[in-house]
């Protein structure tokens, strides 16, 4: 089936009109009668013990309706079952400047805010840990002690194959250190949540969340209510990028306040508070060693990462694994060892930001390989091409690779950019750099392990022929609404606008685990196709009888249903639905997607497997001024294997947005701290690129038609960020010789590299040592050598 009518066509989004007219209702746009407004009192110290907390003056303030403290919400929670370390309001200790301690609901925001200022708070300050090194080496009361030692949240050590003897077989090895600074999502929409107590003894929460299902679970746990007493509705998310995928304290607090007051309550974070909610990129210190033969073949890699996790667990256990898991999905690494350590620090918690845990190692490896190849006397591109993974193979850490257009991406991006004619040949101060990457199209395991589907879709047709689609998926800007409508419409021969979407409402919609890990297109898309095919088959059966043709000759096209051999005949969609309803009763169907079992035979194998990986290759051309230290990106070329481009307009948009965010990370953005506080919690000082800072981008889409993806599609919303960062760093080296083992590449760092060069030193900027921390025992795993790749396609025709 290649003559698609919707799929593959560039077109606008079904949610476009609502968004361009201002009708899309974001969480802060909700205004309910009698609504109260809430504010949080937050910790002014990075680490401290609560000695006394007196809310009486706040309660006495006229206009204040309720005040909550940690005592009211003692149950701990967290996104991962293994790290339930967050409190909606701190009970004993505060762990970062901004950690919430008390909450007030009042008749208006001003009153609520004034009330928080009337709360008497006495804190005993504890030593603070602001860096990875401090967390591991500084003496004093730790933030938390788990089984890995003081301030260590997670430690993992995995070895696939015999790494030591594989290194022994290498003709050459090289080691490098890298540091990747933290950055934040900075969604334009500040988080907001509204809760209402329903007369029938239920609480409804509207929230700007990427993961209504996980919020649902956390609310049930902390509020002590059964899940069926809670309804979570995700409002359109005004930018997420991973930053709205944890259950948040403010969501729990408004829900509790609604229960306590019996009134609707709204809480909208200020921009400053959004920086405290964070869950962004982990600052990560990395060490990598690779062994290669003379011919360039990699024999072994050893990768170590230290993640600065901030004050709470969040997704950190998973983030830690991600800094090690995907190294093998781009290059053949027959023996691989990974050691990861995540520490607690007194900063807002880190978590998943676009690319979750993988941009850091990708930066390290793509820069490391430049040096390694050159030491070997090989062209760095040829070195990479020699080691690229092959489609339909297994990696040493048991990841199943299926469709893989990496080689084509590399070739196309090199050609489009003229890389080979430019590298090393542009005038001084100008350079090109290259990087490549892979990313997951959804994690194959859910956060809560169970055997149920990850995405479900229901369809229902009414007498107007309108197809109502019910799905738990929430559009965060990535275009999930369009994917659901377009895949369904394609199967049914309708237009996406004919599909009425009801999404992300736990009372009404079947499960979708959430808009994270680039899973929605793949999983909800597959579920939608299945539901649509089943609906189509019901109608086909009824129509076959009416048209007196075999069922498989009934075709659905342009809003009509006909005998495929007599396309000019047939009936309208509405009539066909009437025929089917008369024959079968209610017209409805369901579809579900559950990823195949892909985990390897070892503990920790749950992180990394995905039903399919997207691939990207990127070239950046830069101008770097050795006098001023300023680096400007002149152009970016990026080729991306998206499996099948369901809608080129949207795919281009996702790729461009990813490149944008990557450019911000490599040159400008920093979530940094001073005196124990976030240094710059402001939109002005946290430097997000403006319209004037954006270079042109040439996007090349590569289609490999994945055997398991919906119509062959894979992800495109995260992967294309990854190669941008090393491509720019490598381009800077090409331009002025400065080697960056640390990002962001800021002007003063460029100048200090130039100063080093002038002194005859290596112009390298980056970390020089690793902290002294020894992981426990390594888990040794045999690679799945020779294991045959099995496929589990869902739909006959895709």
């Amino acid at each position: 089936m290649t003559d698609f009518s919707v799929i593959g066509k560039p077109r606008g989004r079904v949610d476009g009109p609502a968004k361009v007219t201002g009708q899309a209702q974001f969480a802060d746009d909700l205004h309910l009668p009698g609504m109260l407004f809430a504010k949080l009192l937050r910790s002014p110290v990075p680490h401290g013990r609560i000695k006394a907390l007196d809310t009486s003056r706040a309660e006495a303030l006229s206009g204040v309706v309720a005040v909550l403290t940690g005592k009211d919400l003692p149950e701990k929670y967290g996104i991962l079952p293994v790290s339930q370390d967050e409190e909606a309001l701190c009970t004993e200790k505060v762990r970062y400047v901004g950690d919430p301690i008390a909450a007030v609901a009042a008749v208006d925001e001003d009153t609520a805010e004034r009330a928080t200022e009337l709360i008497a708070l006495e804190l005993e300050e504890l030593p603070s840990y602001m860096t990875i090194e401090e967390a591991l080496e500084k003496e004093g009361e730790p933030i938390e002690t788990l089984r890995f030692g003081p301030n260590v949240h997670k430690a993992v050590s995995l070895e696939f194959g015999d790494v030591e003897s594989a290194f022994a077989k290498a003709d050459h090895t090289r080691e490098d250190l890298f540091f990747y600074e933290g950055s934040t999502h900075l969604p334009m929409e500040q988080h907001a949540a509204v809760a209402r107590w329903e007369p029938e003894g239920k609480v409804t929460l509207w929230s700007s969340t990427q993961t209504p299902h996980y919020v649902h679970r956390a609310l049930a746990k902390v509020l002590g209510l059964p899940m069926n007493r809670i309804r979570v509705i995700a409002t359109p998310v005004g930018g997420g990028f991973g930053g709205k995928s944890d259950p948040f304290n403010h969501e729990i607090v408004v829900a509790k306040l609604a229960i306590v007051t019996g009134k609707p309550v709204k809480l909208t974070l200020t921009r400053e508070e959004v920086f405290y909610a964070h869950r962004g990129r982990h600052p990560t210190l990395m060490w990598v060693k690779t062994g290669v033969r003379k011919d360039g073949a990699i024999t072994a890699m050893h990768f170590r990462s230290f993640l600065d996790g901030g004050a709470y667990g969040s997704y950190g256990v998973v983030s830690t694994y991600y800094t090690g898991a995907l190294q093998t999905t781009t290059y053949k690494i027959p023996a691989y060892k990974f050691e990861g350590t995540r520490v607690y620090t007194n900063k807002p918690p880190c978590g998943p930001k676009r690319g979750h845990g993988t941009p850091q190692p990708r930066f390290a490896i793509e820069v490391h390989f430049e040096h390694l190849a050159r030491e070997l006397g090989m062209d760095p591109i040829d070195f990479r091409l020699k080691n690229l993974v092959e489609p339909f193979t297994y990696t040493a850490n048991w990841l199943r690779i299926t469709s893989c257009g990496l080689r084509e991406c590399v070739e196309k991006v090199l050609e489009a950019s003229g890389f080979r004619d430019k590298r090393g040949k542009l005038p001084e101060g100008r350079g090109v750099g290259f990087g490549l990457s892979a990313y997951m199209s959804g994690a194959s395991l859910p956060v809560y392990w169970n055997d149920m589907p990850h995405s479900e879709v229901q369809l229902k047709v009414d007498r107007s022929g309108t197809v109502a689609l019910f799905s738990g998926a929430i559009d965060i800007g990535q275009g999930s609404d369009q994917v659901l409508a377009a895949t369904t419409a394609e199967v049914l021969g309708l237009e996406p606008e004919d599909i009425h979407l009801i999404t992300a409402d736990t009372d009404l919609t079947p499960i979708d685990l959430g808009s994270y890990s680039s899973r929605v297109t793949f999983m909800a898309g597959n579920a939608a196709i299945q539901a649509a095919e089943r609906l189509r088959d019901q109608i086909a059966e009824a129509m076959a009888a009416k048209l007196d043709v075999p069922t498989d000759r009934v075709a659905f096209r342009n809003g009509r249903v006909m005998d495929a051999q007599r396309p000019e005949g047939g009936v309208s969609w509405e009539e066909a639905c009437a025929v089917a309803e008369a024959a079968q009763g209610n017209l409805m169907s369901r579809g579900a997607y559950k990823p195949p079992e892909l985990s390897g035979p070892y503990k920790g194998s749950g992180v990394g497997p995905s039903p399919a990986y997207s691939y990207s290759a990127c070239v950046a051309e830069v101008t770097a001024d050795p006098e001023s230290g300023v680096v400007e990106v002149d152009k970016v070329w990026i080729a991306h294997d998206v499996g099948r481009s369901l809608n080129p307009t949207l795919v281009h948009g996702q790729v461009e947005g990813s490149v944008y965010m990557g450019l911000g990370e490599v040159l400008l953005e920093e979530q940094v701290f001073r005196h124990g506080l976030h240094k710059i919690p402001s939109m002005l000082e946290y430097k997000s690129p403006t319209t004037k800072d954006m270079p042109p981008i040439e996007t090349i889409l590569v289609e490999t038609v994945d055997p398991e993806g919906p119509f062959g599609a894979k992800e495109c919303g995260q992967g294309p960020l990854l190669p941008v960062i090393p491509a720019v760093a490598n381009a800077v080296e090409d331009a002025i010789g400065a080697r960056f083992h640390e990002i962001p590449i800021t002007p003063e760092k460029v100048l200090s590299a130039m100063d080093k060069a002038a002194r005859g030193e290596e112009p390298l900027i980056g970390p020089t040592s690793l902290p002294d921390y020894h992981l426990g025992e390594v888990l040794r795993v045999d690679p799945p050598d020779g294991k045959k790749v099995e496929l589990f396609p869902m739909h006959e025709e895709t």
Binding site: E109, G629, S682
Partner: protein, 338 residues
């Protein structure tokens, strides 16, 4: 949502009424023009005036009058957009047009005035932060506290003069007209500023800045170079304003001023000595750049590493002067990043 604290608002329709209102309400009152500096500051509780005297309804403040021959007078209430788009200013007072056009963003230039720009509150990233943040860091002497967090031993505030037009006004030797209860006075721009992050103006609280008088433009060449990390939004982290009066190839008058290197715009007086009365050479330009470099003492209280901000003084001064002296082809000048 960050909101403004309560205040009473007075909307006079003449300068006279403004002065009267300021006088009546004393130290509780503040002027607001475009509000693009004051309102964010008030939302962060850096200022909590009881009374605001708005200039929006005082049309006389908006006029741009005069001629390049006699000198141009720009009303303090003219918006940055009006100033940057004014054909006479563009042609004869290029630095003013350029600096005004580089302030913040399009909508802020539609709102912000040149008067407000000259009076913009000195900035510091320990200070231009929301109230809860400032409370957590322990406040500083500029508002609510008693020490300086950048230079803890210091008895004074080092907040940074961050106006784009302030250094230009020095370089052009603009005269500023102030009206207060005591009457009218005209100040050299240089005398308008004080080297203090808190009391940064010599203007009395009940005085209003009414106009900026630009000198006759004959032989005048001016420019302004702004350094910032993004192409929009950002305050200058270095501003170099230069004005040369030329007679054939000879410089008869040279003024160079730096912005965003101290609590006030600073004139680099050595420029007079090294450039005036001659056809300056590359070496003269370098000597001025060196003097400017010595003068600049950026601290760690603004965007960009202070080491970098200082380093950029040399190329920026050279660039601005070479541009005015038309020294060599533009490709040979250092680059401007704004």
């Amino acid at each position: 949502m960050l909101r403004l604290p309560p205040f009473a608002y007075v909307a006079p329709s003449s300068v006279e009424e403004v002065v009267e209102a300021l006088h009546t309400h004393g130290p509780d009152a503040m002027i607001v023009a475009g509000g693009t500096d004051l309102y964010p500051n008030m939302k962060r509780r850096q200022f909590e005036p009881k009374v605001l005297v708005g200039l929006a309804n005082v049309p006389e403040l908006r006029a741009i009058r005069g001629t390049p021959e006699a000198g141009l007078t720009v009303g303090a209430g003219a918006t940055l957009r009006e100033v940057s788009a004014h054909p006479v200013i563009q042609e004869h007072y290029y630095a003013v047009a350029k600096a005004a056009g580089l302030v913040s963003t399009t909508p802020l230039r539609n709102m912000g005035t040149i008067g407000g720009n000259l009076c913009v509150d000195p900035r510091c990233n320990y200070y231009d932060m929301p109230f809860p943040w400032r409370k957590a860091v322990g406040f500083c002497m500029k508002k609510d506290g008693d020490i300086c967090l950048v230079a803890p031993g210091s008895p004074r505030c080092w907040a940074l003069s961050s106006s784009d037009i302030a250094p230009v006004s020095l370089a052009l030797e603009a005269k500023l007209r102030l009206i207060g209860p005591q009457g009218t006075r005209a100040l050299e721009a240089n005398d308008f500023y004080r080297d203090d992050g808190i009391e940064y103006l010599t203007k009395e609280r009940d005085e209003i800045l009414t106009e900026i008088q630009l000198p006759p433009a004959k032989g005048l060449r001016t420019t302004y170079w702004k350094l910032r990390r993004r192409g929009s939004f950002d305050f200058p982290i270095l501003g170099v304003a230069a004005a040369l009066t030329m007679d054939d190839g000879t410089v008869t008058r040279a003024r160079l001023a730096l912005g965003a290197v101290a609590s006030r715009p600073e004139e680099v007086v050595e420029a007079r000595e090294f450039l005036e009365g001659k056809e300056p050479t590359e070496a003269d330009v370098h000597a001025v750049a060196e003097a400017a470099f010595e003068l600049a003492k950026p601290l760690d209280n603004a965007d960009g590493h202070f080491y970098w901000r200082k380093r950029m003084v040399r190329p920026y001064v050279q660039g601005a002067l070479k541009e005015l002296l038309r020294m060599g082809p533009p490709e040979s000048w250092p680059r401007e990043y704004n």
